[in-house]
Amino acid sequence: MKASTVLTVAALSGIPVLTALGLALTLHHPRELTFTDQGVSVAMHLSDDGDRLLTTFTPQRPGFHVYSVGLPADGIHGLGRPTRVEVDGALRSRGPLTAEAPIRMLPMRGTDLAFPVYPDGPVTTDLPVAVDEHGDARVLVSYAACSPQECLRPVTSHPVEIPAAALAAMR
């Protein structure tokens, strides 16, 4: 097939394809729960198979990151706070929280300490879950956003209440 033919097909299909893509993105959002706290937008939804709770943390300021899920609860020497997603009620955890983003060790100036953090910008965590047919669920979200020069106040156990009907709609 000639290149010009490909381009012509692309031109003719571009509008409907991309419009459909936009529509798909729009339709995707009603299943998503979001909140913003301490400079980080948090959006969560269940995977298509309903087996995983995917939570995306997006620091709103450029140059900011969140800490690794593997950081101890009290940080290192009290510094830093891990990213956490905990579930309760109709959502039950089936495994540890993970994130696909690569971890980098951020050294703290003037010390020999280094902190495991994700790259600047959004990171998505993955929590294997089981969903009960009935009942409400509750998700507790914790994190802290920092840049090398600055930190925002840590968010500890921000509650997201999910009534049964809403939980069903998320699936």
């Binding site: 571009g14 991309l18 913003t36 510094l79 930190c151 106040r153 968010v155």
Partner: protein, 293 residues
């Protein structure tokens, strides 16, 4: 012909992408679309406005060395609602916007009501992405003085607190508001500026700054040129957050936050706008030097 076809393809793709963007922009905000979608966003900073910084001025009657206010500032007339009297001290502390510090506003509608206004903005269907503006909005009325400041001022003993050294430690007994008032009062008597150091125990950057501030040269410089008040934002004390809020450029309590007040209580500078110091001895001293007159 190929060029023409290519242009058509690009235009088509652009229209398609625009469709995506438009749908994304017009998607329902979570709070409006889903009642479950956190009516608990009390900490939400979406749409939070930023109020002008407050200057805390402690006026000692007949003080001859009263510093000139910064350009663009004004003194509230004594006896006005802005004035807070500290009985028994002969001291009046006034809160007023300096109007001199530029800032970013997230939302005019939200900001007009002062902080915090987060959940209202979210529930009203405001897009979940704050719009940053670099043009300062019109002056807004100063928020009411924190109640805690009033009560703190009433029990403040300026004279006894003025003897505190430059390194006031964090702690549960840290009456930060009192310390701020006392530091400003002390600044009035000796002309040194006040350094407000907002930090939290879990903040790694704050620890780096703290280490740098505890180096010999930085300590000596602070002792000679500043009255220092540390305010712990990590303990959740609402009064501490109230102190920080007017100075917080991004509306989310970025830390560490250093604010330098002149003896008249006006803001000389802060790290949110001037940038953080380099977190070493020389960097901290250089940052502090720029505000000393």
């Amino acid at each position: 012909m190929r060029k023409c076809v290519s242009m058509v393809a690009l235009a088509s793709a652009a229209v398609g992408l625009a469709g995506c963007s438009a749908s994304d922009l017009h998607r329902e905000p979570a709070g409006a679309a889903h009642p479950l979608n956190t009516g608990q966003d009390q900490g939400q900073d979406v749409g939070q406005g930023h109020v002008p910084p407050l200057a805390i001025a402690a006026h000692v009657p007949a003080a001859g060395n009263h510093a000139q206010p910064a350009p663009g500032t004004h003194h509230a007339p004594e006896g006005s609602p802005e004035a807070i009297t500290a009985p028994g001290t002969g001291t009046v502390a006034m809160l007023r916007p300096t109007g001199t510090t530029p800032f970013l506003a997230h939302s005019d509608a939200a900001g007009a009501a002062g902080r915090p206004v987060s959940s209202a903005a979210g529930k009203a269907g405001t897009p979940a992405h704050p719009t940053h503006r670099t043009v300062p909005p019109p002056a807004r009325p100063a928020p009411a003085p924190p109640a805690s400041l009033t009560s703190m001022a009433s029990m403040a003993s300026i004279a006894s607190m003025a003897a505190l050294g430059p390194d006031l430690a964090f702690g549960p007994q840290n009456l930060a508001t009192t310390q701020v008032l006392n530091a400003v009062a002390a600044a009035q008597s000796d002309g040194k500026p006040v350094l407000l150091d907002f930090a939290a125990g879990s903040c790694a950057a704050c620890k780096a700054l703290e280490n740098a501030m505890h180096t010999p040269k930085a300590q000596a410089f602070l002792a000679q040129h500043y009255h220092v008040v540390h305010v712990d934002l990590g303990d959740g004390d609402p009064s501490h957050l109230q102190i920080a809020s007017p100075y917080d450029a991004y509306g989310a309590h970025g830390m560490p936050l250093l604010v330098v007040l002149g003896p008249d209580g006006s803001v000389r500078g802060d790290s949110a706008h001037a940038g953080q110091p380099r977190y070493d001895e020389a960097g901290v001293v250089a940052w502090l030097k720029q505000w000393v007159r």
